[in-house]
Symmetry: C2
Subunit: 181 residues, 2 copies
């Protein structure tokens, strides 16, 4: 379990390759982890940006779409999401920097949306930056507790969490009601 918990031998047997053959593709175990995280973080970022583009013109719509896409990625990719959220700290040096940069990019996309919403009077939060962080981490945590079989489906969870996110931003009454219930 986890990065140290998963051995290269297990990895070999899961992929069908022999142990040593993995080293023809990746120079080290860390490189394998990097590849996974690199893939995951860029896919998630792309999903978020795509959702924003497809969303309606209003900042509230775009923000909600971004949150739902971010959360949806974790729900659709639970294993990889777990790795992304809890294993990236095992990377070192520039490996780590690269993944952190992708993560920061996602955060800054959200921060900009929030700042825009504050400017236009849709959001009332005095702390756009911290709010973005709080929202992202709140969403990331679904990888810890979400189980496909039990309870809520993807749609419901995404709706509830985007409502949480909007509320957290202190949405002004006129825009809030649009999404309630």
């Amino acid at each position: 379990m986890g990065f140290y918990g998963a051995s290269m031998r297990q990895l070999a047997s899961r992929t069908g390759l022999s142990l040593s053959n993995i080293y023809n593709y990746y120079p080290s175990k860390s490189a394998v982890l990097l590849e996974i995280l690199r893939e995951a973080s860029s896919a998630q970022l792309a999903q978020v940006q795509g959702a924003i583009e497809r969303a309606g013109p209003g900042v509230v719509e775009r923000f909600s779409a971004a949150v739902e896409a971010f959360l949806g990625y974790y729900i659709d990719n639970p294993e990889i999401g777990t790795v992304a959220t809890s294993e990236f700290r095992y990377l070192e040096g520039e490996f780590r920097s690269e993944v952190v940069a992708a993560r920061d990019e996602t955060q800054s996309v959200l921060t900009r949306l929030i700042a825009e919403g504050v400017e236009s009077g849709h959001f009332g939060t005095p702390y756009p930056h911290e709010a973005a962080l709080a929202i992202l981490t709140m969403c990331s945590a679904v990888t810890v507790w979400y189980r496909k079989d039990g309870g809520l489906g993807k749609e419901e969870i995404c709706q509830r969490y985007s409502r949480f996110a909007l509320s957290l931003l202190e949405v002004r009454p006129t825009t809030t009601r649009r999404r309630s219930q």
Copy 2:
């Protein structure tokens, strides 16, 4: 780093004991982890409950105090907080159940407060249970990014996050203003 990353040899050198002497106190490495998590989760729960008791009579005051105490524990105990949030999944069987139970207890304390606030009309959220989870996980994440030296101090972070938490619950205007700015 992490549970698998920390060897018994490192643990020995940090504590000043010899490697083998640890086994006079704990039967296995898992038992050491359990002890840490057990200690942490019960201390945090106690801190939350104490804060609730010391807080004013209003549900908003008690809720805010609970959130700030929960978050404050992580800020005061960053290393142990990291272990508690990201390493408990390495426990197995009843070891795991025990720690999960303590965690659930904290969550249910918060859920009850939220439900009370909803009942009394202070909070408007339709999802008390999920809101409690979202708030706790949002707070837990400070262990990932908080650095003592950089940026905000404990007080500021606790205030901002308890404001986030209250907003997320869709606090009614009359009570919200009491805490803003």
